[in-house]
């Protein structure tokens, strides 16, 4: 396993700047998730690490050694794509063995057998080793694709939305399996997704990308609780963070230069009837399954969630408070105002 560093890396395609002066240090054995909207440069960053793209400026280091000019096949990294491309005419065993049987590797057949068996056990695929790859479900195919990377025992795993073509139940299953795998083999993994559940549950650290820039890198709790800018705040959270005009708040507490006041839906305190210090708002909508309230505050919709189910009906008035310690303030350019 190895650490990965990008130093002031830039990559443009024609007039589009895909990655802009990006620096990141990924530690040995760390699981880093890159999160961002499409076009933010997530996949390009992975491809730069893999050597599938050459940077226009800056350097890629793997295990402390300059890799910028090293051929992809000599970097010893494994790339797992969203669309698992298995060999349909081969069995699961032969698909898994394929990278080991390449002439460059010269692995003995006994060792091939042993490594394939180990990986198959890890992925709960032992009973399917003799199946043709085409006779597998989507989740099993993606497992084989991951297994094909595992048998190589590469220094770094790069994964580009590996779960996004699977349905919810399978996604959850494989997500838990990936987490377990990461723990047991201690691999360095760089993982691209736009699914925030994958990001917060898998990552040791999340990197938020916007327009080719790394805007924040931190643990899931840091990025969620302490976002550096509006875009980072909006990237995590379901339902999303409330972005409210400062005019809704007491001007004495709102710092100068505030353009937006933000609060997470779960931080809004819905008061019991008759409680003081609460402002009265009207319920627009209540979704009991998600414990979600949409409230109306002077014409602005505010979303709140409650811990347990309560009984609300549309049109009803409730008292809520927005605790000062939960408020985040942002400038017009999106930057956070420290408080």
């Amino acid at each position: 396993m190895a650490e990965v560093q990008l130093q002031n890396v830039s990559k443009r395609f024609g007039l589009t700047v895909a990655v802009d002066d990006l620096s990141i240090d990924i530690k040995d054995g760390e699981f880093v998730v890159l999160l961002g909207p499409s076009g933010a440069g997530k996949t390009t960053t992975l491809r730069l690490i893999a050597g599938l793209e050459r940077p226009d400026a800056g350097d890629v280091l793997i295990d402390g050694k300059l890799a910028t000019n090293v051929h992809p096949s000599d970097r010893d990294v494994a790339f797992i794509f969203q669309q698992y491309s298995l060999y349909p005419h081969l069995t699961v065993f032969d698909n898994l063995a394929f990278p080991l049987r390449s002439p460059r590797r010269r692995t003995s057949e006994a060792e091939v057998r042993m490594r394939v068996q180990t990986v198959a056990a890890m992925l709960h695929m032992e009973s399917k080793l003799n199946n043709m790859a085409t006779h597998l479900s989507g989740g099993e195919m993606q497992r084989v694709a991951i297994g094909r990377a595992l048998v190589r025992e590469p220094r770094v795993f790069l994964m580009d939305e590996p779960l996004s073509s699977l349905d919810a139940k399978l996604r959850e299953e494989l997500r838990i399996e990936l987490k377990r795998l990461h723990k047991s083999i201690g691999a360095t993994i760089v993982y691209v997704t736009h699914d925030q559940v994958e990001a917060t549950t898998l990552a040791d650290r999340i990197g938020i990308l916007e327009h080719g820039h790394l805007v924040q890198l931190g643990t899931p709790r840091e990025v969620y609780g302490n976002p550096v800018c509006v875009n980072a705040a909006r990237r995590l959270g379901s339902p999303p963070i409330n972005l409210l005009p400062p005019s809704l708040f007491d001007s004495a507490v709102v710092p100068e230069g505030t353009a937006t006041v933000a609060i997470r839906p779960e931080d809004i305190v819905v008061a019991e009837a008759g409680e003081r210090n609460a402002m009265d708002v009207k319920v627009l909508e209540y979704s009991p399954l998600r414990h979600l309230l949409i409230l109306d505050r002077n014409g602005t919709a505010v979303v709140a969630t409650t811990v347990t189910e309560r009984n609300f009906s549309a049109g009803q008035s409730v008292g809520v408070s927005l605790p000062a310690r939960s408020l985040l303030y942002f400038r017009a350019d999106g930057r956070r105002i420290p408080t």
């Binding site: 996004s164 919810a168 139940k169 559940v197 969620y224 959270g237 009991p288 811990v307």
Partner: protein, 367 residues
């Protein structure tokens, strides 16, 4: 719009029974989702309603009229498939108009109906484009448009969003539900994705191995799963099931789980082997909790987190607020919200009827 009734429907393919004992009423104007894992019989059921498969036995009624023996085209039902088969060489307008031209509808009416459907689906801007170059979402909308213009008695949809990616699926769910609210068309929708079902359905019908396990409103299915399978299949993470130590007698108000006493709503039936079922959000981390364990993992999800707690009775998942900080290895006591604690017969998998359970959201009473 029309009501659809299935009476004791059976379908066998050779030795394999795809659908058995299926009784179901789809009320006029309802959006009903058939939900289950692959091979559960949901698509076969839908194809029988459409007239694409003949049942081995049983009856299908549309608006009270027995249509079991009618051909698909005589049933006046629109089927939207997962793989939207559009004619790539035709414009969007001609694709949508196609079924009407076949029925020799007057040209002026075709134009009016296509325009109305396009407006509803917000695809007026692409009516003159060929379907070949359209995005997945637009193709899906065109396929829907082709169903809408026919003004059928009911819509049948077989995983229409299956091929779209996750983000887009969510958006299309909202659109489909909105469309349903406008058209008020009876819709039967097949999926294996619970989030689609939860987002759209008036009623969810959970199927497994050819049988209907439960049919009801989403909140009812979620909070009061009729069987262990339903509790596991619905919910993410799924319901916790823990073995109860001893046989449970009718009238019991508490059970023992690995020696810990757990209060439950008044149980109205007896069973020898019993499982206690509790959703992760109704497990409370409680110093005084009777069931003790140790945190083994923590899934952080932003607004909340799911703790996995290893107890002598098995691993319990608890959904707790983001402020709770319990590291792996920390000891934890657990208690369960009594009115949400359910008991299941471990042999049949069915829920044991309990005393009055009042659903806090709706006032519905379950037992």
């Amino acid at each position: 719009m029309s009501a659809i009734t299935l009476v004791n429907l059976h379908k066998r393919f050779g030795d394999f029974t795809a659908v058995r004992n299926t009784d179901l009423v789809v009320g006029a104007g309802r959006f009903v989702v058939l939900l289950g894992p692959s091979g559960c019989g949901k698509t076969t059921t839908l194809r029988m309603i459409a007239g694409l498969e003949l049942p081995t036995s049983g009856q299908i009624l549309i608006d009270g009229e027995d249509v079991t023996a009618l051909r698909a085209r005589q049933r006046d039902i629109a089927f939207v498939f997962q793989m939207f088969a559009l004619y790539p060489h035709m414009t969007v307008r001609n694709n949508i108009a196609f079924p009407l031209k076949n029925e020799h509808v007057p040209r002026r009416e075709i134009t009016a109906r296509v325009d109305a459907a396009a407006r509803m689906l917000r695809i007026e801007g692409i009516l003159d484009r060929k379907t070949g170059g359209l995005s997945g979402g637009d193709r899906q909308r065109v396929a829907l448009g082709r169903a809408i213009v026919r003004q059928p008695k009911a819509f049948l949809m077989d995983e229409p969003l299956g091929t779209l990616d996750a983000d887009f699926r969510e958006l299309m769910c909202l659109e489909l539900r909105k469309l349903h609210d406008q058209l008020n068309a009876t819709t039967v929708y097949v999926t294996h994705d619970q989030s689609e079902a939860m987002a759209m359905a008036d009623d969810i019908v959970v199927m497994n191995q050819g049988e209907v396990l439960q049919a009801g409103a989403p909140h009812e299915i979620y909070h009061f799963p009729a069987t262990v399978f339903v509790g596991n299949f619905i919910g993410s993470p799924p319901m916790n099931f823990l073995p109860v130590d001893a046989p449970v007698a009718a009238g019991a108000t508490q059970v023992q789980v690995h020696g810990a006493t757990i209060a439950v709503p008044h149980c109205n039936a007896a069973a020898d082997r019993v499982l206690l079922g509790i959703r992760p959000e109704h497990v409370v981390i409680d110093e005084q909790g009777a069931l003790r364990g140790k945190v083994i993992a923590d899934e952080f999800l932003g607004s909340h987190q799911v703790l996995m707690i290893e107890t002598a009775a098995g691993v319990v998942r608890a959904r707790v607020g983001k402020e709770v900080r319990l590291a792996a290895g920390a000891p934890a006591g657990l208690s369960f919200r009594k009115e949400r604690t359910l008991l299941y017969d471990a042999v049949s998998g069915r829920r044991l009827p309990a005393g009055v359970l009042v659903d806090a959201e709706t006032g519905d009473v379950h037992g």
